[in-house]
Symmetry: C2
């Protein structure tokens, strides 16, 4: 039995489905229910308030950060968990801006996930009127990096096409012009090695409900490079980031190290689910996951080219320039995806014309890929796809 | 069987304990485990990503807001849930500040819970250097309200003594000088009727893990007065507060109404636990809870005066000026509380010398109160409490 046959057995696979949407919400690890139930019944139910210490709830955000660290190429004690990715965008950005107090520009690209741009916009509105969120095309980022830029904020993997930014080169260029970087790993963490440390990333953030399978709305994470942790501060200076939360001091004194990036009381049930999801990673290496993701993605692309030549690959064809998803453009993408989902092939549609399929090696295998392509082929071939009708349907939704 | 005998039966009471710390973490409702397990297994496990729509996950934060609304005296569609209380402090404050753009002062008191002050301090640091967090003694707040003040931010019930601020009078005075109010209901929600609407509160925030028993780190909530919702904006402008989150538009367009105060992807497991905890409120009225809380608190104070006259009441003796907790000052408060906890009477210690006991009528009755007082009496009487020793122990912790 291969390693990936073993990991597949650790998930609940919805019956009659090929689940190519693990890049939106990862499937449920079998261990999650048991772990959360234990936290509720044996910890909350039995120990009640004493569980904050006796069951280790208080340290859970940082412990989970340390479990995540090797998956994203980070050193120990540089990652903590909590809040949502949107909040962590705000926290990382405002912290990075404060480290470049004379500069006024946040640079990002229009391939970034909208909430990153929304949160950056909210921060800019809150600050002086001379701050600016500057958004360029993804391929223009390198040239747009100049000495106005305080922070470069990018999502490494484009959520629509899977196009991968060159973290190392862009971070180097950012540093050359004196800027800091905030990398969003939403579609990276658990899908490929990120090597934050060797790429010299300054800040990174991400969610755990996609390729890390920690459940709907599970905690986000934040990474701060070791050389910045001492000087970086958090504008979201909540009590759990205080050096002594239970001293109830009137003045804020940040904790030492990554703990200062904690904010409020951790969501213990969500943390329990994340903990269970990370168990799977004890027996598997992220580099093997990446290699397997490339195998499966290449198979998918090859078979789609044969079976469904009318769909145009929207993802980079070079697997090393692509995350762990494969996208196609298709005029009738919206109704096609509706039909596919009804038929048990789960992917999703992203406006205006992208159908995307997430590749999660932890629970997908060759059989799934071949079955998905066959079902897609049959559906594409079987129907008379009337473009006008589909555009009308799209307008309604 | 009285209503409160019935509510008591809906909780798991840790064996051999009198749990007077529900103002820190409420006990586990029996329905919580089942509900969360259902969400994990029957929703996440079976529907996976489809559950966002099919299981109603996407609307859960606002639905829960509407379930909370009557408990805090708010109208429908004025409350939403999510994040932590610390984050909601930041969100409410920054929103209120933006509605008073010419003013620079946040007024609060040193009886406020530290995280409120920390978060306000973080916000002030982020803004122009002429912004100010002004902190006065609780009894000086009324006189400190002047036309410099943009926002008055107070926690209604003092977390140490239970002293209750006069929400109506302070809000009226704030409005008279042109300021807005942000009320923290951490120790109010589920303990007493708040009447946000009739008190003309502008913003309110709170947590759900104390008197609402939704579990460790359960979602916070935010209330915005109906007349402000249209003009108020959220600086934490995450995608779930967008008018059309799934349109993935590059520009932020806030949702109509309270939905704009949502931020990131909701923590679905935590929401499920909150939903189960709110079931209990379908059959009980908050005014009855308050009346019962006063009965039990008065009994506790009377019996303590008889049994433990050496402990000095730190809470207001007038029950209408007190939340749902009773506190005493005691030189040897720290070791006393350690001994009480070891003996099964759970309260907590707040520096420098406060022992506090939360009164939660949903699961406490006269028998618990009498038993607690008897155990406290025995422990106070039995030992030779050496002050010097206790101060030494305090210094170590």
């Amino acid at each position: 039995m291969s390693n990936f046959d073993k990991t597949r057995e650790q998930f609940v696979i919805p019956e009659g489905q090929v689940y190519l949407v693990g890049n939106s919400l990862g499937l449920m690890p079998k261990g999650a229910a048991k772990r959360v139930l234990h936290t509720i019944e044996a910890e909350w139910g039995t120990m009640a308030v004493k569980a904050w210490n006796n069951a280790g709830w208080m340290d859970q955000p940082d412990k989970l950060g340390n479990r995540l660290a090797p998956i994203i190429g980070a050193a120990a004690d540089t990652v903590t968990t909590g809040d949502t990715l949107s909040i962590k965008v705000f926290q990382a950005l405002s912290s990075a801006m404060a480290l470049r107090p004379k500069r006024r520009v946040i640079l990002s690209d229009n391939g970034n996930f909208p909430t990153d741009l929304y949160m950056a916009g909210g921060l800019v509105n809150l600050l002086d009127s001379d701050y600016e969120l500057r958004v360029v095309n993804p391929e223009e980022v390198m040239d747009a990096l100049d000495e106005d830029v305080a922070v470069l904020m990018l999502t490494q993997v484009d959520y629509r096409t899977g196009r991968l930014h060159d973290m190392k080169a862009l971070t180097k260029r950012a540093h050359d012009v004196g800027a800091l970087t905030v990398w969003d790993l939403a579609h990276t963490a658990g899908a490929m090695a990120t090597d934050l440390a060797s790429n010299n990333a300054d800040f990174a953030i991400g969610c755990t409900y996609k390729f890390l399978n920690a459940g709907p709305g599970s905690p986000a994470f934040i990474y701060v490079a070791p050389h910045l942790i001492e000087t970086a501060s958090s504008a979201l200076s909540g009590w759990l980031g205080h050096a002594q939360p239970f001293a109830f001091e009137p003045a804020y004194q940040p904790a030492v190290g990554i703990r200062k990036f904690r904010v409020g009381t951790p969501s213990v049930l969500a943390m329990a689910s994340l903990d269970a999801a990370l168990d799977i990673w004890d027996d598997i290496d992220i580099n093997d996951v990446r290699a397997r993701s490339i195998e499966l993605s290449e198979l998918f692309i090859t078979e789609m080219a044969k079976g469904c030549p009318s769909l145009t690959l929207a993802s980079p064809s070079d697997p090393h320039k692509r995350g762990s998803q494969v996208s196609f453009t298709c005029d009738y993408g919206y109704p096609l995806m509706q039909a596919l989902i009804a038929d048990g092939v789960l992917g999703d549609f992203r406006a205006p014309d992208i159908v995307r399929f997430g590749i999660t090696p932890l629970y997908l295998n060759e059989g799934d890929i071949l079955q998905a392509v066959e079902q897609i082929r049959q559906i594409v071939d079987a129907k008379s796809w009337d473009k006008a009708e589909f555009h009308a349907r799209k307008a309604v939704t």
